[in-house]
């Protein structure tokens, strides 16, 4: 059980911030960006560039990596997605375009670093017992930062002007425009926040394990499971979903088989889709009759 608690918390720390960022991006821009998985990878590798190649200390490299990743995200938004959004294309078209953009980002990383896995240069630390947990200093640090940043984002959404703008835009873009909000600026700020969170998530993955150029899609799928489980347009739901998915994955790894972690996350997502399609913290009540949903929709 102690093992599960430690590993679950660590996996949670890697999943929570990207899930939160993707949730904000979907909520505000109203389309699903498949590039996000590769932006996570890009964040990790840009930090790796500072940390390993230029030998900058880890903390500063993370900040530089976040800034560069945010710049990448805004660049992609301005060059690829904004022109199409101006043409008023549907969310599905934007999704297909984001597939192409992700393809480009992934292969650029592949050209730069090759297919082998990498690790950050960070001081090794001995694991210590803290209550039921068995963690190294780095790992404790990661969990604390993750929680702090998540709380910070929630406070930002609730109390700052930017948070209010983001919520207003996501609620009703037309009305926000009429009220004089520059939607485009809100989009840009959202992408900056989402990409910075993605970079942090990618760096956490690198600190706890390894990173490699093709990891984006697998990570994206897990994060998507978090969003569905928690409720796709609820930022609290994203973090809550990350918690549930993380513990489900680690429980599978301990008691069933490590390679099936991702499948466990996926099965959980499908169960939630059948029982409560809006997610655990989403809008509607639990609809148990969806278990027989196929028969039901045949009749209707």
């Amino acid at each position: 059980m102690d093992e599960l608690l430690s590993y679950g918390l660590l996996t949670f720390a890697t999943l929570a911030l990207p899930a939160l960022g993707l949730c904000l991006a979907i909520k505000v821009t109203k389309y699903f960006n498949l590039t996000y998985g590769d932006i996570i990878t890009a964040g990790a590798f840009l930090t790796l560039l500072c940390n390993l190649t230029f030998g900058i200390p880890m903390i500063i490299s993370v900040i530089i990596g976040m800034i560069l990743t945010a710049a990448l995200g805004v660049f992609l938004h301005k060059t690829v997605f904004k022109p199409l959004m101006d043409l008023k294309v549907g969310p599905l078209t934007l999704l297909v375009v984001s597939l192409g953009a992700g393809f480009i980002v992934r292969n650029l990383i592949l050209i730069g670093w090759g297919p082998q896995p990498f690790q950050f240069r960070i001081p090794l630390a001995r694991a210590k017992h803290i209550g039921p947990l068995f963690l190294t200093t780095n790992q404790i640090f990661i969990i604390l930062i993750c929680l702090l940043v998540a709380v910070g984002i929630f406070l930002m959404l609730r109390y700052t002007q930017l948070g209010r703008l983001m919520r207003a835009t996501s609620d009703n873009p037309e009305l926000s425009k009429i009220r004089g909000i520059s939607i485009e600026r809100v989009y840009v700020y959202t992408w900056i926040i989402a990409c910075a969170l993605a970079a942090m998530g990618g760096v956490f993955m690198g600190v706890l394990g390894t990173i490699k150029s093709g990891m984006g899609i697998g990570v994206l799928v897990t994060i998507f499971a978090c969003l569905i489980v928690g409720g796709i347009d609820n930022p609290y739901g994203a973090v809550f979903g990350a918690l549930i998915i993380a513990f489900a994955m680690e429980a599978t790894a301990i008691w069933i088989s490590p390679p099936y972690k991702v499948i466990a996350a996926y099965l959980l997502m499908i169960i939630i889709l059948l029982v409560k399609p809006s997610g655990l913290l989403g809008g509607e009540k639990i609809q148990w009759k969806y278990f027989l949903g196929f028969l039901r929709s045949r009749q209707s």
Partner: protein
């Protein structure tokens, strides 16, 4: 003769990819179901066919290599049974996955189907008794044993799939699919079941992807889980969109252009650097091509035919 052999190889690969493209046309072009799990159904078909047709000799080899037991090599059925099993298994898997997934909104369905393909990839990698894991299945027999005759078989299957896809455009069920694509509410108000229409399109398309998987397994004569990665899916998407979504001739054109000339044809070019550099450059170019096509010519090279008014009164 060397160059002729190369052309034959490329033509076979293009034909197999075209089958997947036509299936994607049924999913996305006709019914608006964005299936990003093509590689998954491709893998189901390939593995179903390979497991059922792999010869006993393969088991002997694996026993020497330290792996004993498992399903591959136990059946030794002929190719045709492998092909049918591939179609049936892909359809069954598609049905089971479709029950929860087809409830989703289109863009969420897209991401969920990527996950399905990933899950199938993990199963292929880890269920050693069924798939022999990362070692893969080898010695899969090529029917007729002759690449020229086998190409004719692939062409025949492609022709059948093309005919089915073209027919579905005009049949009542195809019209319901297109109705679902254009406006679900109106289609539902005409008394059609949206879920049933989506499920039919989903299962038919996935069965075609399974057939493509079977043809691939028997052509390559060896498969391993590393082939069924999202890159396959994305290539299919890219050539379908470049060639002309919703038009079957356009899809064939896209397959020839992107898969034939671009992916396979550029293998002649001198490679430089590490072995992963050239494919990466190719993929960056097709990614750019996808973005540019959607930006400047969203209907693709050959657009959908204008709807003919069909009066039955």
């Amino acid at each position: 003769m060397e160059i002729f052999s190369w052309i034959l190889t490329i033509a076979t690969i293009v034909a197999i990819y075209s089958i997947m493209g036509l299936a994607l046309n049924i999913h996305f072009g006709y019914t608006n179901l964005p299936n990003f799990g093509i590689a998954g159904f491709f893998a189901v078909g390939a593995y179903a066919s390979a497991i059922l047709t792999a010869p006993h000799r393969f088991r002997q080899m694996e026993i020497f290599a330290g792996f004993a037991g498992g399903m591959p090599g136990r059946f030794e059925y002929p190719f045709i049974i492998g092909l049918i099993a591939a179609i049936v298994f892909a359809a069954i898997v598609a049905f089971l996955i479709g029950v929860p997934l087809l409830r989703l909104r289109e863009d969420y369905l897209a991401v969920a189907s990527i996950g399905v393909a990933e899950a199938i990839h993990y199963v292929a990698l880890n269920e050693l008794w069924l798939t022999t894991g990362s070692a893969g299945i080898r010695l899969i027999p090529m029917p007729t044993g002759n690449r020229y005759l086998y190409f004719l078989i692939v062409l025949f299957v492609l022709a059948v799939v093309f005919w089915i896809t073209q027919r579905f455009y005009r049949t009542p069920v195809g019209r319901v699919w297109r109705g679902v694509r254009e406006d679900e509410v109106i289609t539902a108000s005409l008394g059609k079941s949206i879920f049933s229409a989506r499920m039919w399109a989903w299962v038919v398309g996935c069965a075609m992807m399974g057939a493509a998987g079977s043809l691939w397994a028997h052509y390559a004569m060896a498969i391993q889980p590393g082939e069924f990665v999202p890159t396959t899916t994305f290539l299919v998407w890219i050539f379908v969109i470049v060639g002309g979504l919703r038009n079957n001739w356009g899809i064939l054109l896209g397959a020839v252009l992107i898969i034939g000339f671009f992916e396979q044809g550029t293998r002649f070019l001198p490679a430089f650097g590490a072995p992963y550099i050239m494919p990466a450059i190719r993929h960056i170019t097709v990614g750019l091509l996808l973005i540019l096509i959607i930006r400047f010519r969203p209907e693709g090279a050959i657009p959908e035919r204008a709807a003919r008014i069909e009066a039955h009164i």
